[in-house]
């Protein structure tokens, strides 16, 4: 009989190795099917360079319609960098180069002729830290539609603001104080305001970069519930350090490691029976 921790660790290791050889392969190729039929966004051979340093290594990944795709991995693995490629946010970083193909509904988003400003309306982004404008709640939501010319009258804009706040699950909490400053809301409310601001410009895709990392568990639960509701109308890609969150909110999960997309698959499969040993190491907390 074995009883010591070391022996049991060793035997766990034996069990991990005794599985199908493919499950613990050391290959640097992506394990799992990165493509989905009728993808909203299709990324092929994406490489990102910061000067001489390559941050992303030939990543292929699709984002399906009405799905939440979570991207997980240790710090510096390239998941946020990859996310920022999806609406050309990396364009704003000096020395950053992106190669490969990213298509949104079949349209190449890195086409020189394509204006990144309307693209960022179609592919909205929610950041780690809530960042409402130093304006009223109403103005935070109305700003985007106004500059993109999405409404023609005040009544139409009012309706759009209400709809967006309702979709973000914030309307009932702020309908009586729309002129109050957005920065006066709680952290969770501010994040939902940012989501309302993103929704207001009718995006097709919403990118979320650790949207709950600055929130308490209750605010996090509200945002996660919201993500599930938003999935009915949008495609969502979320970067998160919380594996439980990835398991809760997403239908597919992609695991990044040192700039490689190591494994992608159904979230249920990734969290119960990952095929690549790096994925297994990471999600079971065996990463040193």
């Amino acid at each position: 009989m074995i009883t010591t921790v070391e022996e049991i660790q060793r035997s766990t290791s034996t069990a991990m190795r005794s599985g199908e050889l493919a499950r613990v392969r050391e290959s640097r190729e992506t394990v799992g099917d990165y493509s989905v039929p009728d993808a909203r966004m299709r990324c092929r051979d994406i490489e990102v360079w910061y000067g001489d340093k390559r941050a992303i290594h030939g990543v292929n990944l699709d984002l399906g319609r009405n799905e939440v795709l979570s991207m997980i991995g240790p710090s510096g693995c390239g998941k946020s960098t990859f996310l920022r490629c999806l609406n050309r946010m990396n364009d704003t970083i000096d020395g950053c180069r992106v190669s490969g193909s990213i298509q949104l509904d079949g349209e190449e988003i890195y086409d020189r002729a394509l204006d990144p400003v309307p693209l960022r309306a179609r592919v909205g982004m929610v950041f780690q830290k809530p960042n409402p404008f130093p304006k009223s709640i109403y103005e935070n939501v109305a700003y985007g539609p106004r500059i993109h010319g999405l409404t023609t009258s005040k009544a139409e804009l009012d309706a759009l603001v209400e709809t967006s706040l309702r979709k973000a699950g914030l309307w009932d909490e702020v309908k009586d104080r729309l002129e109050a400053p957005g920065t006066g809301l709680s952290g969770g409310q501010q994040q939902r305001l940012c989501i309302a601001r993103t929704i207001a410009v009718s995006p097709e895709v919403i990118l979320m970069d650790e949207p709950c990392s600055a929130l308490d568990p209750i605010a996090t639960a509200i945002i996660e519930e919201l993500i599930d509701e938003l999935r009915a109308n949008y495609s969502i890609a979320i970067v998160t350090h919380s594996m439980q969150q990835a398991a809760r909110v997403s239908q597919r999960t992609a695991y990044f490691h040192l700039g490689d997309l190591v494994e992608v698959g159904e979230t249920n499969q990734i969290f119960t029976n990952p095929q690549h040993r790096l994925t297994e190491d990471y999600i079971t907390g065996r990463f040193g």
Binding site: M1, T3, T12, L278
Partner: protein, 251 residues
Amino acid sequence: MTESINPPITDLARGHTVSRYDQELAKLRGIILEMGEHVVEQIQAAVSALVSREENLAFRVLDREPQVDFLALDADEEVFRVIARRQPTAIDLRIVLALSKIAGDVERAGDKAARIARQSIELDALGGGEDLLSPRLRAALSTLDACACCMFERGISGVARFDVRIALDIFEREPALYEASHAVRALLSDAEQEGLSARQTVCVLTSAHALERIGNHAANIAEQVIYVAEGQDVRFRNREILIETLRHRTL
């Protein structure tokens, strides 16, 4: 993704970054292994009591039965604790789920040992002497005991190592178990020739059935060993096909 970068050395034997997590999993597995050791002793003592007609041994088995039950409660508590505190995933989740089910099988195997001990005591109450069981019936029971006990011990070894080969070995022993069980039933079908009354026959038959069930619990444990090692739930699968698949895989 053709250019390779130096992958980090991921020594799976290294354990979790949070070492306390390893200790908690080790504690859970240690409880199951301890239960297994107790149950093996219980089975051996119960069968000795039955075959050798040692009443004291049978009572000792019944006295010790709660030990296994208490360990089963400890195992359940540890399972709850690990799930609540660590939210295990992947192989850790499979280990915790499997150990939870294995704890149930081990505990029920312990119940079977107690059942055999009760039958032994009842035989004594019915007035059976040392030579109540014929030599060939004793031999048949010993063969069945050897099969069941060996399978169960292998099952516990499987928990210690999560080795698919051990699971395969258990499955391969199942036909011998059923054959030994059938042999006991065949002898008991002619109770008159064995010189047993109807009630005595029921006692021996119940004991034989309990031994067969112990072998079944071992097979259940083997299924969980495969679940941990392979991530495949092989319950309810055709056993012959499964054995062939495992043989091919472990070559």
